[in-house]
């Protein structure tokens, strides 16, 4: 096994081999989660602080379950009601948590790049649970795990990511992971929610950017729909939700045009009836619940790589 990882801020510094290793470990962690007593002593005596400056139910609970399954002490810190509301800076908050003995911080923050600031002021390990539009590495890892467990391997998969690409941290982390493991990625959505293609291909040269979803469907192995935030309409990025749904929504008709083996994913939370329809979300190609289940095992695997 390669040397331990200190921080997990984005997948940009994960090699293909390291990602594979985590996905393998996640396999064993799933086995642990299937046992009567879902606990192993990997993080016994360690303190994990879940520091969430932005609301998130599934990611926070997923991390909490993962840390507990590894026997860590888990403390939840939410910005509401804390010293942050009284104007404490992020750096001061982190110093305080450090003084209180935190070994691992799991952080969700609304500002892109905030984890790099925290990592500079924290002697322990940091896991990014989502920062602004920048990165969400554990979501990408669990997406990769889900694709691999459903489709066998990532290499040469046609992955279509559709929706509000511009504002999505899930997309950016998935681009690092998917391209590094050899998938062919297409980003699809209205021009206002992607921006010029060259801005993306400068960093990820192998990807494609298109604005029409329908022609992609017959060739797709994976279709991942992104959450469309309703604020996007208020800021004039979209003319109407109805139009968005008509062109980009994952409807039963579109589902029918996918190859038999293809899977449908969504990082959640879903806007049912907008980017995805209820009958699609629960159909057999949908892997959305599996994504959530796999999230715990993958986060355990990452914590394991960081704590040994």
């Amino acid at each position: 096994m390669s040397e331990l990882r200190r921080h997990a801020i984005d997948l940009d510094d994960f090699s293909a081999a390291e990602i594979e290793e985590i996905l393998e470990t996640a396999e064993s962690m799933r086995e642990v989660l299937g046992r009567e007593i879902k606990q192993v002593p990997v993080l016994r005596g360690k303190t994990v602080v879940n520091m969430f400056f932005e609301e998130s139910t599934r990611t926070r609970i997923s991390f909490e379950l993962a840390a507990r399954a590894l026997s860590a002490n888990v403390v939840a810190f939410t910005a509401r009601g804390s010293s942050v509301e009284k104007g404490e800076s992020l750096v001061d908050t982190v110093r305080t948590l450090q003084a209180l003995g935190a070994d691992i911080i799991v952080m969700r923050h609304s500002q892109s790049g905030a984890p790099y600031l925290v990592a500079r002021h924290f002697r322990g390990s940091l896991i990014n649970a989502g920062d602004g539009r920048h990165a969400h590495p554990t979501q990408a890892l669990l997406d990769l795990y889900t694709m691999r467990s459903r489709l066998g391997q990532i290499r040469d998969l046609n992955v279509v990511i559709v929706g509000d690409v511009l504002h999505s941290r899930v997309v950016r982390s998935n681009l690092w992971g998917l391209t590094r493991l050899g998938a062919r990625v297409t980003l699809c959505g209205p021009p206002t929610l992607i921006g010029p293609a060259a801005f993306w291909t400068a960093t990820w040269p192998t990807i494609r950017i298109v604005h029409e979803l329908d022609p992609l469907l017959p060739e797709a192995d994976v279709v991942m729909a992104l959450r469309l935030q309703k604020e996007r309409m208020q800021s004039g990025l979209l003319p109407a939700l109805r139009e968005y749904t008509r062109v980009y929504g994952l409807t039963a008709e579109r589902l029918a045009r996918l190859p038999k083996h293809a899977i449908v994913m969504h990082p959640g939370p879903m806007n049912e009836g907008i980017e995805i329809f209820p009958e699609v979300a629960t159909a057999s190609p949908a892997a959305i619940e599996e994504q959530v289940t796999n999230g715990v095992a993958v986060r355990m695997a990452l914590l394991y790589r960081m704590a040994g």
Binding site: D12, D13, S89, L90, V91, H109, Q111, S112, G113, A114, Y116, L117, R120, D131, G132, R133, H134, A135, R169, R172, G195, A198, F199, W200, A202, T203
Partner: protein, 486 residues
């Protein structure tokens, strides 16, 4: 006290002088300039009251003028004071600062200007000129009493870093300024196009997930303001130009005779948005194995963005650092004269305000102490000749202000800078005399340092014991080559 600055390489763009020679300073004025031709001629003997300053190997130039300084006093003395800003100016070779109306209370009335004037006279060790607010509170809603401001001694009008969104109000402001004969200094950024943005919109902002500010946000307002200047006959000065499109617009406007001048900052001339990546940049290169793909490879090796962490708040400036295509267009604009001046946009902030998330960091760089060395990277790279660089710091700003340029002709005020263009140093913000330590250049090795600054004949900065001892041997310098081509 009289000073004889000996054996320096005298570069005085306004008088088209570039020679090795001596300058005699007395009573706050340049008394005599001895050039090569005078070298062997008889001179009257020096009195005992003359201090000889040995400037061999160094450039001796008129003191620099900064068109764009944020003094912070009154109102934000924890960031900077007039005393610390003028000390920083002296370290950087600047003998004149033009204070933007961003202090508090906003200098939008004669009383506030008189208060500022008093503070500047009491605490300033270099010349400080005041720019009045264009609108009340810099809010872009109602014009300030511009005539009163002019009578109180303002040299120009500006709304600090803000763009007046209301084009009709802007037209009125320009019409007023035209009648008063003073320039309107604008920072151009369409507030809607730039809303929420913190980085240049492009590959880097996409990779980092930072809200972008498109080049068009600047260019749309530059175009608008040029049209208004053309219609009103006002003198429009475009502050901190940052895009290729702006340079093209200004070039075209000047070609048809519009009274428009422009400035660019040292950082927009030399740094790109890839500085926001910090050490992620290096990692990228290792990953892709394509060192040739690095768009900033033309930058000198001693400027290294990888010394910074990613998203370092010191790279947050307004307008944002752009990409290499824009930087090249700015250098071209500087070279061909479309851009008149290099202005620092000295914007000091306290550390406590800067050690924070990128999106909430206050924009700005504390730049007076690094401006010359940073701008000199263009000279060291062969992209700008040193005479032109000095002109952009002396003659250019004077033209923007419609005044006769600082120069070294006998009788001129002895505002003089002596700098060693080859001296290599590492930026250590702990050594800054400015209270603002916010700079992306911390830890960088730069080449070129001010050794001595004289303001109105008084030494306001002297590095170590500069010039007190005769140097043993002339240092071989690239300057000799530069002079031969003059």
């Amino acid at each position: 006290m009289r000073y004889l600055i000996k054996n320096g390489t005298i570069i005085d763009p306004a008088n088209r002088v570039a020679t090795i020679g001596d300058i005699l300073v007395a009573n706050g004025k340049v008394e005599r300039l001895y050039d090569l031709a005078d070298l062997h001629s008889e001179r009257e003997p020096l009195g005992s009251d003359v201090e000889v300053i040995n400037a061999r190997g160094c450039v001796v130039a008129p003191g620099f003028t900064d068109l764009h300084t944020h003094l912070r006093q009154p109102g934000e003395e924890h960031k900077e004071t007039i005393a610390s800003a003028s000390a920083a100016a002296a370290v950087g070779g600047f003998t004149t600062l033009c204070a933007r109306p961003t202090t508090r209370p906003t200098p939008d009335n004669a009383a506030a200007i008189r208060q500022l004037r008093e503070l500047a006279d009491r605490y300033g060790s270099v010349r400080i000129d005041l720019i009045g607010a264009l609108t009340l509170g810099n809010e872009g809603r109602a014009l300030s009493e511009m005539r009163e401001l002019a009578e109180a001694g303002c040299i120009a009008f500006s709304d600090g870093g803000r763009t007046i969104a209301d084009a009709a109000l802007m037209r009125n402001a320009m019409a007023y300024a035209a009648a008063l004969g003073l320039p309107v200094m604008v920072s151009c950024q369409d507030p809607h196009l730039a809303a929420g943005g913190v980085a240049h919109e492009g590959a880097v902002s996409i990779r980092l997930g930072l809200p972008g500010i498109p080049a068009a946000a600047e260019e749309a307002i530059v175009a608008r303001d040029i049209a208004l200047a053309e219609a009103t006959g006002a003198h429009l000065h475009i502050s901190r130009v940052s895009t290729a499109g702006s340079v093209a617009l200004i070039r075209a406007a000047r070609a048809r005779g519009v009274r428009v001048t422009a400035e660019v900052t040292p950082h927009h001339l030399t740094l790109t948005d890839r500085w926001l990546l910090g050490w992620l940049e290096e990692r990228n290169e290792i990953e892709t194995g394509r060192p040739g793909a690095h768009p900033d490879l033309s930058l000198p090796s001693w400027l290294n963005p990888a010394l910074l962490p990613p998203y370092d708040s010191s790279t947050r400036v307004e307008p944002p650092l752009r990409n290499i295509e824009h930087v090249e267009a700015l250098i071209e604009g500087l070279r061909d004269g479309v851009i008149d001046a290099i202005a620092v946009d000295h914007a000091p902030h306290a550390l406590v305000d800067r050690d924070c998330e990128y999106g909430i960091a206050p924009p700005g760089i504390s730049g007076l102490e690094t401006a010359l060395a940073l701008a000199l990277t263009l000279v060291h790279r062969g992209e700008l000749d040193i005479v032109n660089l000095i002109a952009k710091l002396t003659e250019g700003p004077a033209q923007v202000l419609n005044r006769s340029p600082a120069n070294l002709r006998p009788g001129a005020t002895a505002d003089i800078v002596i700098f060693d263009p080859e001296r290599s140093w590492v930026v250590d913000t702990d050594q800054f005399v400015s209270r603002g330590r916010n700079t992306p250049l911390r830890g960088q090795r730069l080449k070129g340092q001010v050794m001595l600054t004289m303001a109105a004949g008084k030494i306001v900065f002297r590095r170590d014991d500069f010039g007190r001892q005769a140097q043993a041997a002339p240092q071989p310098s690239r300057l000799e080559g530069i002079l031969e081509t003059e």
